[in-house]
Structures are given as C-alpha cells and as structure tokens.
Symmetry: C2
Subunit: 181 residues, 2 copies
DNA sequence: TATTGTTATACTCTATAACTATA
DNA sequence: TATAGTTATAGAGTATAACAATA
C-alpha cells in the first residue's frame, strides 16, 4: 500500500455523506500533481517502493522458471547447505516452520527437492533432486539477468555502495529481533 | 519470507517419508552457520530484509499513535493535498480503490479524517478533522524519531547517498508500471 | 519435558469483478 | 458510455496454538 504509479483526475461528494455540510473544500490539488511531503524523505517509504518494484521485476524475469522469491531462496539455501532440516532452513530465511511445510510441499510436488531420512527421526534432511539442480542452473542465469536489470541506472561502484549502505542499515535493526544472525 | 533471524539445531528423517531410501545425507551443515550463497549478493533479498526491519521499527515507534504505515501515508497525503478524491489518494499511494474504502473507513471511524461533499457528486473531497491534525503533529514528531533510529548506523552523507541510490534505482522500475509518476 | 514436523485457523494485504449513482 | 465509490470475494503471506512422533 505504498507504491507510486500516476495521478488521478478530479474531486467532488456523493450519497452516504456522513459529515454535516462542510463548505465544499476548495480542492486546490485538482489541478496539478500530488505533494508527497515528508513521504519523499521517509526511508521506509522509499524502501517499500524499491522492494515492490524489484519484486515486480523479479516476477517478469523469473516467470519462465515459475518460482517465487521465497521458493527461490529455499532452493538456494538447500543447494549451498544440503541436509539441513526444515526448521534450520525456515529459521535461516525467517519463515515460520508452520508456513514452510506447504512451501516445501510445492517444491517436492514439482520434483525439485525432497525430504530425506536423517539421523534424528523427528526431522528430514532436505536435499535437491536432479531436476532441482537443473532448475538452479537456470535460476543462477536468471538471477544475473535480474540483478543486471535492476542495476541498470547504477554504476558498479554505486551498486556496491548501495549494498554496503543497506547492510549497514540492516545490522543493528536485525539484532533486537529474536536471537541474531 | 525473506528475513534472517538466527540458526536452528540439528537434522534427521521421520514418518511421512516420500522418497525411497536416500543414504542418510551427510548433513555437513549441521555444525556451523548457514551459507547464504548468492542471496547475500541479491539486491532484492537485501531490500526485502531492510524493508521488513524498518517496518518493525516503525511499529514499535508508532505504537502510541496506533497507525499503520499505510494509514500514516494517507493522512500525510491529505494533509498536504486537502480535497483530493479517494481515487486520487489511492492512485498516488498505489492502493487499489477497492481496498482504500475500508482503510479510510477506519480513519473516519476514529475521527481523524472525513469525506466532504465535492462538486462532482460521485466523489468526496477528503479532509482532515481537528483530531486528525492533532494526531499529525504527533506523527511528524514520531517520524523524526523513527528516521533517526533507523539512520543510526549511517552518517548524514551516507543517509543522503542511500536516498539518492534508492531513488536512482526506483526511477526506471516505476516507469513501466501503469502510467508514470 | 523439549523439539520437529504438521494441521488448523485467523488476520492482513492485495487483486478482480460487478454493482450504484452519478457524469 | 465512462467514472467514483462500493461490495464481495479470492488469493497470497504471515502469525499462533495445538497435536503426534521422537528425543
């Protein structure tokens, strides 16, 4: 609820009018653009818009792979850390264990990953299937395309600096969460 | 689904085992930390975490005002642009008209804003109430506190640079949406 | 007792279609 | 015929509680 597409048209009142009368507010804004005031100086607002815009770009870039960012992150974690349990993967990604079940069910139903027996018989050792490894090769390619697309307006040094600043911002905020990563 | 709290414990299998046998995957990751691989170099992933962390900070900072970021943005827009219609405000913030109704109903029920008659009798001229203006004074104060809190790890020039880079990143991505702001 | 995976559930946010009253 | 506000609804994403199997 914090995007920023375009503008609309003109104002006026109607039926279910709850207020008494209110002298037909001038509507000085009916002419030009909308003044965003402090919102333009709000880091949270800009971050929200950036995240939403990048997410949309992700969708269009990854539509041939048919994976959401969440599914993608799970596959990447398992690729780098085969044998982790559901709790470990979901904790690593900030996903609730309960919500991870359906998410992984989808990956398993598509034959991309599977639950293998582990020494502790309460849990599973998560691993990729050959098909999952094949899809990951595509995902790695698409990831590069995606990063390149969203980084177009930035120079290499600017992109590096953006990463540095975001991680700098993130560090103290992610401390007081639950344990600390 | 893309946070990054802490780690979990250890792996192993269990009952609804769907795969044949799979030689008890070594689980080389059961010892130390999780390797995030490309996720750490993903702008989308870092942005998502930053946005989530900032949102959490917002909640704790603004709990005394009892407003969500979305409600806050609506109040700020109406403050700066009194007389706009629901379509204009929701378009400006990227909120669907249909979803704006309940959002504004809440603000109106709390006596913070109201629907005033407009010249075009299909629409309303949205405006603040005295109570809404009073709350906005508090919101402006809390906004400063909030921005200061999340900006702690950044110097003034770094914060300015972060804004510049985010807006740079945003500009081309928000072009191909619907019309263009 | 504590933990893992699981189910059920609820609440929020988001998206679409269709209706009404106006234009 | 088109637009503003509205309603209904469906789909994600997220959060908590409670249960069975296992430790």
């Amino acid at each position: 609820m914090l995007n920023r597409p375009g503008q609309a048209r003109l104002p006026g009142p109607r039926r279910k009018s709850s207020i008494p009368a209110a002298e037909a507010v001038a509507a000085q804004a009916a002419t030009g653009k909308v003044d965003y005031g402090r919102l333009d100086d709000s880091l949270g607002y800009v971050l929200r818009r950036a995240q939403l815009a990048v997410f949309k770009t992700f969708q269009s870039t990854f539509k041939s792979a048919d994976v959401t960012p969440a599914q993608c992150s799970v596959l990447l974690i398992i690729e780098k850390n085969p044998g982790l349990t559901q709790t470990q993967v979901s904790d690593a990604l900030g996903i609730k264990r309960a919500n991870f079940v359906a998410l992984f069910d989808t990956l398993e139903a598509r034959g991309l990953a599977q639950r293998a027996p582990a020494s502790d018989r309460r849990s599973y050792a998560l691993q990729l299937t050959p098909r999952g490894r094949a899809l990951l090769r595509k995902i790695h390619t698409l990831s590069e395309v995606h990063e390149d697309r969203i980084s177009v307006p930035l120079t290499k040094p600017e992109r590096t600096e953006l990463f540095r600043l975001l991680n700098l911002l993130l560090a103290p905020l992610e401390q007081g969460d639950d344990d600390g990563a």
